[in-house]
């Protein structure tokens, strides 16, 4: 049992923090909000040069052989100032899947340039009707000769509007919601027949609705085996959940410390409002939940790599539930304690609030994860 960072991890987290403070304060995010891409390719390249995109990938794939905890430490720092570059979709989701399932050519073509920050990726899995059910996939891939033709619509594709290539989940067999029959395809962002609609998230980041109207890809674009993608997809989305916990930790920490600072200096009734016990106790509750979230962020980052899928799922679901229950207490208290100013767009509190809420709603919300937790075989047995 040891939760200390190694020297390399401390150095890396410090370097990311320095980047965040010096090169990417919240004002940079504000400036990029609502622009065509919503993030900056130069900043992305810098992150690639620093090795932050490659850190957790195997050396054979051009990475540094680190663990998911390294991704988490980076994301936590990025979260502090709402860095909008597509770390989660590109590195955690699509990158993870390509590294896990890809053949040498696919890794060279799609993963390697992304790790250097030259390209970015996305994962298209969710559909309008699917909610959080990963098997609820109506997009189809029909074999025709030596290639596949993709038809269907994907929603909330993080970085889908800007990605150079997109990992797409499509059904090669079976009925919608069958666990079998799902396959993954690597589709170019500018593939003929693909329509990308930029959708604005409430957090000021862009996502995409993708329409596949007969997009044809060669058999060399099949990622992994045909028809058996669900397990890998579940794994990837659990990585997304762990990443959401990590990034949100940065924002929750901002919400908390900014609130404490604010109630020390904001005066009403002739004293700092932080002298009112009702607010002090709320602050103590926030403190407790931020700490509890931190523990679960660590748990998620460590256990997402557990080879036993049920152990992994139990940990990830627990962490995601805490993010939405404990995390919610932090974000709603922050807004309440700031008062009216928290509702203005100029105040950063609202930006953090919104981003955390988006991360809570991605990769399974609390209801979904409570339900998944109780459906695991281990739930029947003794207490974990």
């Amino acid at each position: 049992m040891n939760f200390e960072l190694t020297e390399e991890q401390t150095m890396m987290a410090d370097a990311v923090k320095k980047f965040v403070v010096n090169a990417s304060p919240v004002t940079r995010f504000r400036a990029l909000r609502g622009t065509e891409v919503g993030w900056d390719r130069k900043a992305w390249a810098t992150m690639g040069e620093q090795g932050w995109l490659a850190v957790a990938f195997p050396e054979a794939h051009g990475g540094y052989g680190g663990g998911f905890i390294d991704n988490a430490l980076i994301l936590e720092q990025l979260g502090h100032s709402l860095v909008p570059e597509p770390y989660i979709p590109s590195v955690v989701l699509a990158g993870g899947l390509i590294s896990r399932l890809g053949n040498t050519a696919q890794i060279e073509t799609f993963l390697a340039p992304m790790l250097e920050g030259r390209t970015s990726l996305a994962l298209a899995y969710a559909e309008k009707q699917s909610r959080y059910d990963l098997a609820d996939c109506e997009t189809t891939a029909t074999k025709s000769g030596g290639s596949y033709v993709l038809r269907g619509t994907k929603v909330w594709v993080l970085n889908g509007h800007a990605a150079d290539a997109i990992v797409v989940v499509a059904r090669t067999s079976g009925a919608s919601r069958d666990r079998g029959g799902l396959s993954l395809f690597l589709v170019d962002g500018d593939a003929p027949g693909l329509r990308r609609l930029r959708v604005h998230g409430m957090d000021g980041q862009s996502t995409a609705l993708l329409e596949f109207a007969g997009v044809e890809v060669g058999a060399d674009r099949l990622l992994g085996n045909e028809g058996s993608a669900l397990e890998a997809l579940e794994w990837a989305i659990d990585r997304g959940a762990a990443a959401a916990c990590a990034e949100a930790q940065g924002q929750l920490s901002e919400l908390f410390t900014r609130t404490i600072d604010y109630i020390k200096q904001r005066r009403q009734f002739g004293r700092p409002i932080g002298a009112f016990q009702v607010l002090q106790h709320r602050a103590a509750d926030m403190f407790a939940e931020v700490e509890l979230c931190k523990g679960m962020m660590i748990l998620a980052a460590l256990q997402v790599e557990n080879a036993d899928a049920d152990t992994r799922k139990a940990a990830i679901s627990s962490a995601k539930v805490q993010l939405q229950t404990g995390g919610w207490l932090v974000q709603e208290s922050a807004v309440q304690l700031f008062g009216g100013i928290a509702i203005t767009d100029e105040q950063d509190i609202g930006l953090f609030f919104k981003r955390v809420r988006v991360l809570q709603g991605l990769f399974g919300d609390a209801d979904y994860h409570v339900d998944r937790y109780q459906s695991l075989p281990s739930f029947e047995g003794e207490a974990a």
């Binding site: 049992m1 460590l302 974990a384």
Partner: protein
């Protein structure tokens, strides 16, 4: 980072587990499993078995009878005790006054008191609270006036758990009425059985057990040699001790036991003709509380891991009393709900009316309401966090 135990720790766990399984008497195990209330003799039976093995006070220094285990080993041992359904030993000697005497006591005091705390031959109780000094403990009024080599004690303590069984009581008493409230307090030890003028009046808790007592002092004379530490410095010492009490009161391991109890109930109890464990709404409630247990458990593990490396308790440790006791209460609330109307009985009913685990549930549910009150109420904990950690201004 690494969440797993080392091979050495796993070997240690297996050794401890095997020993407990052999050493713990079946009637005690059974009673603990059913949440039954232990009589003092039963607790002492287990205490003496542990003492004979040298494991009664793992957290004491080795030269006074501790085990020499590190933080992780102590944690593993504690977990294994709960897992095996061993009775909890009385904390007043072993975790409260013992460590204080070890830290601040004279050599004579150590020789006189520590061996009998360790062996379980002398039972202790804690005389801090008074009718008008609860959370505001520093306003306590028990007077200790000097006369010759003695102190003369006058006043009253209350909520003194198990005073009626105790041989000794440690009290906070006012030795200097003129000083600031915190500064005139001394830490004194009194022979509760043999000192004329000390009277103990037990009364029932809502759990139905006679755990509480009022302890009255009427010109009770105790030697000054029974003062631990300097005169008027009792407050600082007692506060150090309260800090210790707080982390252990979180009771994360006890919550694990409650989750086991709830599952057992839910496999037995019926809902719509099926086991409650198959009811979707119930399963979600159980899942939520178990997730909370994991969440609090993670904070507990981080605290332990930091302590293992010799670091001062981090911020997460100060929240354990609050979130840990809330969790214990939630667990008993869910256990009650799981049993439905069968939860509403009382433990003095005939056992053929209810299985034993049902018998004791209501008592535990009621008694555990105290967990958020004692050891510094959760409101007081929040006051401490907001002032000491968050640095918020005084009202």
């Amino acid at each position: 980072m690494d969440m797993s135990y080392t091979p050495e720790q796993i070997a240690f766990r297996d050794e401890v587990r095997a020993w407990i399984a052999k050493a713990l008497p079946e009637h005690l195990r059974c009673k603990a499993e059913n949440g039954g209330h232990f009589e003092l003799e039963e607790i002492l039976e287990w205490h003496k078995i542990l003492a004979a093995k040298g494991w009664a006070a793992p957290h004491w220094p080795q030269e006074v009878g501790g085990t020499g285990w590190d933080v992780a080993q102590r944690h593993i041992f504690g977990e294994e005790l709960v897992r095996a359904n061993a009775p909890t030993l009385s904390p007043f000697g072993l975790t409260m006054v013992g460590p204080l005497i070890i830290q601040f006591g004279t050599d004579e005091q150590k020789k006189r008191f520590l061996p009998k705390i360790l062996s379980g031959d002398e039972i202790w109780c804690q005389g801090y609270s008074e009718p008008n000094a609860g959370s505001d403990l520093a306003s306590l009024q028990l007077r200790a006036d000097k006369e010759g080599d003695d102190y003369i004690l006058n006043g009253q303590k209350t909520w003194t758990t198990y005073a009626q069984h105790a041989d000794w009581i440690f009290v906070l008493a006012r030795t200097s009425p003129t000083a600031k409230p915190q500064e005139g307090i001394s830490f004194l030890l009194a022979d509760i059985r043999n000192t004329p003028g000390i009277e103990v009046k037990p009364f029932l808790t809502t759990g139905g057990t006679p755990a509480f007592s009022e302890t009255w002092f009427d010109n009770a004379r105790i030697p000054q040699a029974n003062r631990v530490g300097p005169e008027n410095k009792g407050w600082t010492m007692a506060k150090a001790l309260l800090g210790h009490e707080r982390t252990s009161i979180g009771g994360v391991a006890d919550s694990a036991r409650w989750l086991g109890v709830i599952r057992r109930i839910a496999r037995d109890a019926r809902m719509g003709g099926k086991p409650l464990m198959e009811d979707a709404a119930f399963r979600r409630r159980l899942a939520k509380i178990e997730i909370r247990y994991r969440t609090v458990g993670m904070a507990n593990m981080r605290t332990l891991a930091a302590a293992q490396l010799g670091h001062a308790p981090g911020p997460e440790s100060s929240i354990l009393k609050i979130v840990g006791t809330e969790l214990q209460q939630e667990a008993t609330e869910l256990a009650m709900d799981a049993l439905g109307h069968n939860a509403l009985g009382w433990f003095d009913s005939p056992t053929d009316a209810m299985p034993e685990y049902q018998l004791w549930l209501a008592s535990n549910f009621n008694y555990l309401r105290a967990a958020t009150i004692y050891g510094g109420s959760n409101e007081i904990q929040k006051n401490i966090i907001s002032k000491m950690i968050l640095g918020l201004p005084q009202a």
